[in-house]
Structures are given as structure tokens and as C-alpha cells.
Amino acid sequence: MSLPDDLTLLTAAESRVALDNREISSVELTNAYLSRIEKVEPHIHAYLHLMTDMALSQANSADQRIESGDVSDLTGIPIALKDILCTTDAPTTAASKILEGYMSPYDATVVARLREQGAVFLGKTNTDEFAMGSSTENSAFGPTINPWGENRVPGGSSGGSAASVAAREATISLGSDTGGSIRQPAGFCSVVGLKPTYGRVSRFGLLPFASSLDQIGPFARTVEDAAIMLRSISGRDKMDSTSAPIDVPSFTEKFGADLKGVKIGVAKEYSVEGMEPGVDAAVKAALKQLEDLGAELIEVSLPHTEYALATYYITAPAEASANLARYDGVRFGNRIEGDDLIDTYKRTRGQGFGPEVKRRIMLGTYALSSGYYDAYYVKAQKVRTLIKQDFDAAFEQVDAIVAPTSPTVAFELGSRTNDPYAMYLADVFTIPANMAGIPGVSVPAGFSDGMPVGLQLLGKAFDESTLLGIAHAYEQAAGFYKELAEV
């Protein structure tokens, strides 16, 4: 392999080979990313906290490990972490004023596993406050900019993680996905974004938003890199009783050149009013590509899709209102003193949380309050059953389901901030997978007027291998992953 002048052009898999062959060192690779960050970060603002000293020290240790032959998949590979994952050596703020300066006394399990592998941590990435949003504009510390358009949002909530990979400020990054927060920004920024099956990855140390929906997953420039990261962070963890005691495969075992014998479902419900013609055209071209690869396209029906958004906006805020009760200014975070303890809580939370977080706490508290619990919360749980049954029935006929990741490309900064429901619509195609707990991946699928379009593939629970096999075959045939943002 001939090495590029700019080492940030290497994928994680390519970097692994170059590191193991001693063609490059982790320190060189890390320095290439630090230079890149210095150059593009003023335009992108993907990071909230850089971990420069830590990164160089980890890179040094990684080089020693490689020298001694003690190598794992991600030893010496520079990565970025969404700032909602607890780290002992950098602040963890969830992009909220209420946690400004918070230093976690423990590492999230995914962070600990990456540390054990000898990965290099470049920094903590920007997000909508507590992962609540679809544009990263709800960050208390300013928005991230889409590397593909200077007035466009990167999507959200994991917009910083998506932009860091798209702008080559990290090889791979981690995000979290509660209603689309990995797949939607991946689509907006033309990178691969994977939400694993609920239970595949430990949530210990992920600041919780909606605990029955949240899942950690990777952003990468290729499906192979996403698979490598997934196997590095997956598996049962005694600290998260919802993590599944299920074997972790390589996730690359179904990579092949064609898709002969693979059945892919196309759901008519994933074509909505207001869908951008350029997105529709890109998805139709992708369907053709999948057929050319040998896949059989089968029409399936997911009749409760149109109810998923409403179901989500009861379930997620209800869980959030309980989860965020912990931010009371007593044990951690900022405190604003009031006249008495209750007044201190009110001032602390009233001033510490931003508008969207307050909206969701209010919505959730209302849905759980006396007199409304059955009409809203229980009703949503019942509709969640119907949504899950739709997928169960569809997956009796097909191996995967294909859909757009979002109805539009990345929108302009500020264009939806005054209309919460318009913002929520950005996740209309990604939310159903969270409600059903199934895995989903967004793969670059071309462009509409110069802005990226994502193709979403949804798979059966705990069958990420089939999902990634299809995604890989499509990605290699379509080739859009080779087009990089010019920043």
C-alpha cells in the first residue's frame, strides 16, 4: 500500500496495516489528526474538549505495544468520543451548562474497553444538550457546522461525532442514538453511522436520555471501520443489566462482492409528503444498485410507521423526565442557591437546562402526571407494541429493510430552531428502529444539490452481521464513500 501524504486519509483498517508494518507510528498518525484539527476545527467546531496531551501519551504507549506485538484492532488509532460518554481524563458535559466542568470519577464501559485496546482519544465531541435534538444547535456551547456546507447543520444529536469523521478530524467516533442521533447526522455528513441492536453495547457511563431506546454506536468512513469499532465495544457488561449475554462476532463475516439470495424489503410507508426529490432519486438509484448486486427487492408494509413519531415524543420525554431528575445541584453539576432547598432545585434546573431539554422534561412530566398517564404514556407503550409487531412480520419475509435515512438533506442553520415539531420531523424515518430495538445503519448514497443523502438499512435484532454485509456490498459498488468533504 502506498501511503498518502496526509495520513488522515487512511481508514482505521488501512491504518492498522500501516502501523503493524511499521510504515507509520501512532504518534505520526495522531500528529496528522492534531494538525488537521488545528486547521479545520475553527470552521467546524466538532469538538467541545480536545485531549491533545492525553492523545500523544496514548499514542506513545500504543507504539510501545505495537513494538512488543501486543496489538488489538484499535491500538494506536485516533478516535473521538461524544461528550455524553463518561471519561475520567476530560470533562463530560452533555453540552449542558448544568454539567459544565464535570469530571466523571469513572469511565463509561465503551471508553474503558477502548482504553484497554490502546486506542488514542483525540477529544470529546459536540452534541445537542443531553442528546436532545436533530441539528446540534441545542448545544449550550455553540453549534457544529456541516463539513459539506458552511451554513448547514451536521444533523444531531451526535453532530460533532459525524462532522469529526466527515472532516477527517478523527478516524472513527462514537455517538449515541435514541431516535436517530447516529444515523441522521451520518446521512447529513456522508459517513457511515451504525445504531446497534438495543442491548448489544453496554450503556454504562452513557449519560441517560431515554433508557429503553438509547444505544451507543460508531461513525466511520467505511462499513468495515464501523464493524471494527462495533466488535471492540460490544458484549455483556455486568454494569449494565440490559446488555445482552450474546456472542460478539467479527461483524465482517458476511462481507462479499454480491447480494445473491438476499431479500431486501421496501416499505411504502417510508415515502412521505415533503420528501425532497433529490433524496427520493438517490434512494431509487440505490435500490437499483442493490438489485444489480443480486438482491431481491420485496415490498413490505409497516403500517404503524406514521405513529412512530408521536409515540416517541411521549416515551422518550417521559423517560428523560425521570432520568434528568438527578440534575438537582446536590451531588454534581452547577448549583444556583435559592431561598430554600426546593427553590435551589428550581433555580438550578431552570437556569442550567436549555429550552429543548426543558420542553422535553415538561412534556414527559405531563405525560406521566396523574390523570394523563393512561391517555399518553400507556397509550404510547401500546402503540410501541404495534410498531414492533410490524417489524416482526416484515422480517419473516426479508433479511433487511431499506429506506431513506431522512426525508431531506441537511437544512440551514437556524431554519428550524423556532419550530420544535419541524425539527422532530427530521427523525421520522429513524425513530421506528429505536422503538423496536433493531439495528440500523446509514450509508453514503450520493448527493442532492451538493448535499449528502443517506441510505438507511434496518436489520433483525442481533443480526448486525447481515446488515453490515449488505451495507458493505452497496458501499463498495456505489463508491460514494470515496468522496470527501473539502474543508
Binding site: 408521536a310 435551589t344 428550581k346 415538561m362 407503550q381
Partner: protein
């Protein structure tokens, strides 16, 4: 579904969220609008459907009740806005005229 100003103030109080008059008014309008969209669920007959709270096939995950490593007192208090003699410090909850207004 439309919320009254009193509804919003009540929910804000339940959620321990301090908000000024302008925020309450804004919240009243936005929550009413969002609830209007959510009302689409009433179209569905769900009388015979059981609720789903979570989607994993696990239940009652047990472990042995054995003491293990935990944080030191210093670690537990490292982010406390105020501490006193190794404890989290807050304003008095009980007693006096000022306390216990909950």
C-alpha cells in the same frame, strides 16, 4: 389538546423547573402544539394491545449480593457543589420556619 397557563405552572412545579412568565407562555404554546400532533395516536384502537416498556428478551437479571470496589469518599464528592465533613451539603430540609416548604 390545549394546556392552560395553570397546567404549565403545575407541571413546571412537579418537574422542579424554575421559569419566568415569558418562558411559561412560550412553553404553553409549544407544548399545546406538540400535544396536538401527538393526538394522532387516539385514531388507533389499542384496547386489546399489551404495552411494551422495553424490547429485550431479558427479565430479572440477578447477581450475587457481594461487596465490591466502590468510590472513595473523595471521588464521590469530587463534583459536589458544596460538601461538609465528607457529606454533600444542602440547605436545611426540616425544621425552622424556612425549611421543608415542599
Amino acid at each position: 389538546m390545549s394546556l392552560s397557563r395553570e397546567d404549565v405552572q403545575h407541571v413546571a412545579s412537579l418537574a422542579r423547573l424554575g421559569m419566568d412568565d415569558a418562558e411559561i407562555a412560550n412553553m404553553q404554546e409549544q407544548l399545546s402544539s406538540i400535544l396536538g400532533h401527538i393526538d394522532v395516536l387516539s385514531e388507533l384502537d389499542t384496547d386489546a394491545i399489551s404495552p411494551t416498556a422495553q424490547v429485550i428478551a431479558l427479565s430479572n437479571v440477578f447477581r450475587a449480593d457481594e461487596p465490591g470496589e466502590s468510590f472513595t469518599q473523595e471521588q464521590a464528592l469530587q463534583n459536589a457543589p458544596a460538601s461538609h465533613n465528607g457529606f454533600f451539603a444542602v440547605a436545611a430540609v426540616l425544621g425552622g420556619d424556612e425549611g421543608g416548604s415542599a
